[in-house]
Each structure stands twice: as structure tokens, then as C-alpha cells.
Symmetry: D2
């Protein structure tokens, strides 16, 4: 089995819904399993998570975009990953990423780029979204990749929308597709 | 008078409309003048433009986002600016930037970041948009900064929208505000 | 008087030396004062620092580059700055940045770009290093801007060098020049 | 056989030497072939190159860093790749990148990030350098990855060094390792 881990932080629940959609996509692939690891409000992983991550074929990173980048709790996790970094423990594992923020564009690109930069510190192989954008006049938030990420999955949750209201259907389906694509790639390349 | 130059490339006319909005904003400021310089399809500036740019207090960069960055025609201009770079001719001039693309998010952030990187090669001082985003459920493309740029002005022109249809009102007003802010800053700091 | 604040985190003391050089440069400018604020190991500012920062004309950001970006302690500060962000309290303040890491290149660029992204969230005006690089065969770590930053000051402290040994003379002088340039700009534009 | 294509632009010959090292590394892998495609001074590929690239398993991008990003000639190639982009012709191909500039740090990171951004527009899978940096006091330009790239191979050619003198031994070996790693990954995942 190809094993996919999803490490994420969520401040108010929107990014958690996105993470669950990524996990549903990954776990739905024949020959793959998906497991989520939620970083807590102090920036720590659940008990045993570091050991579990070490056994994964793919690690997908997720965080809201706060003040132009990943939340500090995610960065605390990233800094703590210097231990597997020294030992090259995550080298050649597949990587991917997703982010949510309130604004249409905002600085989501920067958060995805940070996930990529982290993955390259680890020597991981990056698999992005692989979708064209839905960018015609008729398109809207119900369409897959209307939000239009390339290197990863992006979602928009308006500032006054609860996690029940957002991310919206198109963004959640985009997150699901990211999980599916990465798990499919993990299965294919696991040999 | 504080003199603002706007150097841009436009492939199909959408970015040109955005450039005109920036120029209208800058030119409308008491004590400021605005002049646009359109890079042609071969990546060249109009006759006399390099000399005019040398006399500006602010240079604002604009380009569509093509394949994840500024159009090659803009980059050809940027590479040719190595001549004023060597002589530090643009040092301390104010800088800013704007970009248009068909997708909601896409890689517009990267284009703005390139403009910033170019400006820092030249030792320029960067002035961004300075606006909060319009990011509530009720907001849409008619609102100022719904597209939600921070470091510069962004606009969305759907792939099947003509330059008469897009950028839309909110994005054009955002571009106008960018020009106004930069010209206002140029007037204030010119002493 | 133009007031310059320098907010930084330092893990082992190298970035602190860089911060002190920036402060020396800023404080040495006629008509300017410089004050440093060190973020602690838990990501918190000293008592009263938020109020002091609110009164500054310029805020300069500093952090080591860890795992491809600013340390999580710095990011915790950045996330906490969402309070002045909402109130636009730092709008139009001057911004700048510096970073240190063990590797020659590494991902220092990304850390500086994050500082810039943060500054643009706040509507600040970015002033970079403004220096040409020392990039001839004869140049080395004793030369100003041999490390070759543009948007900010960079320094290299080899992994086995103590804070007494590194950053080296050229990098510390580069940091001093950054402080001097930003303070000089603050004095000039304060009117 | 796994087929690796290397598309690059070189202004003065330094990046060409780097490209040749990447090709030597890739071509030296059992079960892999390497072919280089040099973009000319007008930004055009050799006759038949687009068809050849379409048949590759991996496409590696290379350019000097000029004015903070890839040379315009490379960007012209990137913009022209919108044709395979529309048809998703390069989706799932492996990608990687390398860059050379005169300065120690400079904006090389930004050029590599552009290559990554381009690759994600195409839905490619990114394979970076995978090396730790040589970042101790004793290290120098003769060491592998002293220049310290992560997402791609970087090289430093001082402004007054001919292509016979630079890139230096460590940077050329780093380029070779990048080619070897990408070709090895292509062989492994080709099934």
C-alpha cells in the first residue's frame, strides 16, 4: 500500500475541511491509505505522529494563509522537522500542499511556495494540482479550480463564512482531486 | 512636479486598460504628472523612453501574467535595464506594480514579486497597494480590492472577456488607487 | 527625530549580531534613533514593545532562515501583528529586513521575501539594501555585500562558526549599511 | 529508455557549461538518455526541438539569473510553451532546474522558483537537488553544493571569470548530480 500523510494546522476549521477533502481523495485511490495529523494550537503534533510520518510515501502540507504565509504553528512543525532533515529521512518522499484564506487572491501563492521550499529542504518530490483553471465568465466558486491554483490546492473562505459555508464546493472538490492525484502518483511510483 | 512613469506590456488590451487606470490615478494627484510607456510586441520601448524614465521620480511596472510570470516582452525590457542598473540611475526612485490574468488566483503573486525583485536590483523604494481586501460573502468583482492584492494591483479578466468587459470596475478602481497612492507618496517625499 | 525599530529573533546569537549592526547603522544617522526588540524563544515580544513599535517611523524585520523561511518565533510575532493590521496602524511606515543562515545561498531570499510580503500586508514602504554586489574573483567574505542581497541584508555564518566568528566583517558592514540607509530615508521623508 | 531533455539559455557560456554538466550526469545513468536544447539569442529553440521535448520523460530548465530572474530569451520559450500547456502535453513529465549568476547569493532562488512555477503550470512533477549543503568553515567553491541550492542546482561565476574559469568544480559537480538524480528518478518511475 502507498501511504499518504496529511499534516495541517487549522485556526477556525476551514482548513480542516480542506484537509479532510484531500484525505478523502487520497484514501479513495486503490492501493493507497490516507492519514491526517492535525497540528495543535501550540504548534505540536499528536503523539506518535513523527514516527508515522517517517513511514509515509507522501507527506502533504496544509495551513491557512495568515499575514502572508503559513500559520506560525505550521512553521513550528516545519522547524522541528530539522531532525528528519539532518538524517535525510524524508528524502524522495512525495510532497504536496494546500492553503485557505479569506481573500480571493491574497498571498496564498506564497504559502504554497513555502511548502514547496520546505519539501526541497527535505529532498522531496513535488506533485502539484495538475489542473487547468476554470477561468471563463460563466465560472464561479462551485467549479473545480475556479480559485486557480497550480502548484497546490487553494480555497477561499470569506471572512464572515463559517466552516459549514466555506470552503465552497469547487474548492473542496479541488482539494479532493489533489489528494487523489498525489495518492495515485504514490501508487504508480511505489513499484 | 513629481513625475510618475508607467512601463507596461499588454498582449490583448486588458493590461493596457489597467495601465490607463493607474495613470489616471497618478495624474489626478495635485503636484504629479503621469506618463505611460508601452512595451511593443518585440519587447522594445518607444523612442526616447529610456531618457524619460531616467527623469521620473517613480516607475511603475505592469504586465499580464503569462505562464506564471511577466510576459517575455516585459522581461526583455527588464534585462535591458541593466544599463541604468550599472550606473545606479534608478536608485531611490519609487517603484510599484500591477498585473492582469484570466484566472481568479493563478500566479499573479509571482509577477508582482518579480517586479519587486527588479526594483530591488535597482535600489528602488517599493510602495504597494496599502488597501485591505474586500473579503466578505457580499463582495464581488465590482468591489475595490476584491481580487485582493497587497504588494501591487491585481486584476482578473476571464479568458473569454474582451478588454471592453474586463478588468471589471473593482479591479480598475484598484489600479486607479495604486496610481494615486504612488503619486501621492512621490509628491510627499519629493520635498 | 525619525524613529527606527528593529524586531528580530535569534536562535544562537548570529542574527543578534546582525541586528546590532543594523541598529548601529540606523542609530548613527543624524536625526534618527534606533531601538531593538528581541523576540524570545517562545515567540513573544518584550513588555511594551507593541506600543513602542506603533510609534516608530520604520520597522526592520530580522530572523535566521530555518527550514527555508523565518523562524517560527518570528512568524508568531508576524501573526500577532494582525491586530495593528486590522487597524492599519503600520500603514506607510518604512520597512526593511535581514537574515542569516549557515549556507552560502540557501533559502535566504525566501525569508527576505516573506518580510516584504508581511510589510505589504501592513501597507508599509519597503527600502532595500541599494548596494551593488561585490562579485569579482578577488572578492570574499570581508567585502561589503559579497553575500549579495538586494531586497535586504544577508549574512552567512558557517554551521561550525560561533557568533564571535560570524557573521563576518563584510556581512556586518552590509547590515550596518542597511540600517543607515533606512534611517536616512526615514529622516529624509519625515518632513 | 528514460529520456531527459535539457532546455537552456546561456548568455556568455557559463550556463552552457552548467547545462553540459547536467547532461553528463543524466546521460551517465543506466537506462537514460540526455539531450540538450539551447535557446538562441532571439529566444527560439532549434528546429524540431518542440517535437523532441514532447517525447521526453523529464524536462530540465536552465538560464542565467539576469536582473533577478531568468533571461528574457528563456521566458520567450516559456511563453511559447502555452501551446503544450493548453493540450496538457507535458503533464506528469518530471521537471528540474538550474541557474548561474555572478553574485554569491543574488536572486538565483527566484529563477529556480520561476522554473518550478512554470513546471506547475504544466502539471509536471518537480525533482530538486536532494543534497545537504557544504556549509562548514572549511568548505569552499570546490565542494559539492557549497553554493547551497535545494530546489535546483546553482552556480556562481564571478563577473570577471571566463567560462573556462567558472562555474567552478563544486558547482559543476552539483549540476552533474542534479542530472543524475533526475534521470535516476525518471528511470525508476518509468516502470
Amino acid at each position: 500500500m502507498a501511504k499518504v500523510g496529511i499534516v495541517f494546522f487549522s485556526g477556525y476549521g476551514h482548513t480542516k475541511k480542506q484537509a479532510e477533502a484531500v484525505a478523502a481523495g487520497a484514501g479513495g485511490v486503490d492501493g493507497a491509505t490516507a492519514e491526517v495529523f492535525e497540528i495543535d494550537q501550540d504548534g505540536n503534533l499528536p503523539e506518535g505522529a513523527w514516527e508515522s510520518l517517517a513511514a509515509k510515501d507522501a507527506i502533504i502540507y496544509g495551513s491557512p494563509t495568515y499575514m502572508g504565509g503559513p500559520a506560525w504553528q505550521f512553521k513550528k512543525f516545519a522547524d522541528a522537522s530539522s531532525k528528519p532533515w539532518f538524517g535525510r529521512a524524508w528524502k524522495d518522499k512525495i510532497a504536496g500542499g494546500f492553503t485557505n484564506s479569506a481573500s480571493v487572491n491574497g498571498d496564498k501563492f506564497n504559502t504554497i511556495m513555502y511548502f514547496f521550499t520546505l519539501s526541497q529542504q527535505h529532498g522531496q518530490v513535488w506533485v502539484g494540482l495538475g489542473l487547468l483553471p476554470a477561468n471563463k465568465k460563466e465560472n464561479g466558486p462551485e467549479d473545480v479550480n475556479w480559485t486557480a491554483g497550480f502548484a497546490g490546492a487553494m480555497s477561499i473562505s470569506p471572512a464572515d463564512a463559517s466552516p459549514e459555508e466555506a470552503p465552497r464546493a469547487g474548492d473542496l472538490e479541488t482539494a479532493r482531486v489533489l489528494g487523489e492525484r498525489i495518492a495515485g502518483y504514490a501508487v504508480k511510483t511505489r513499484g
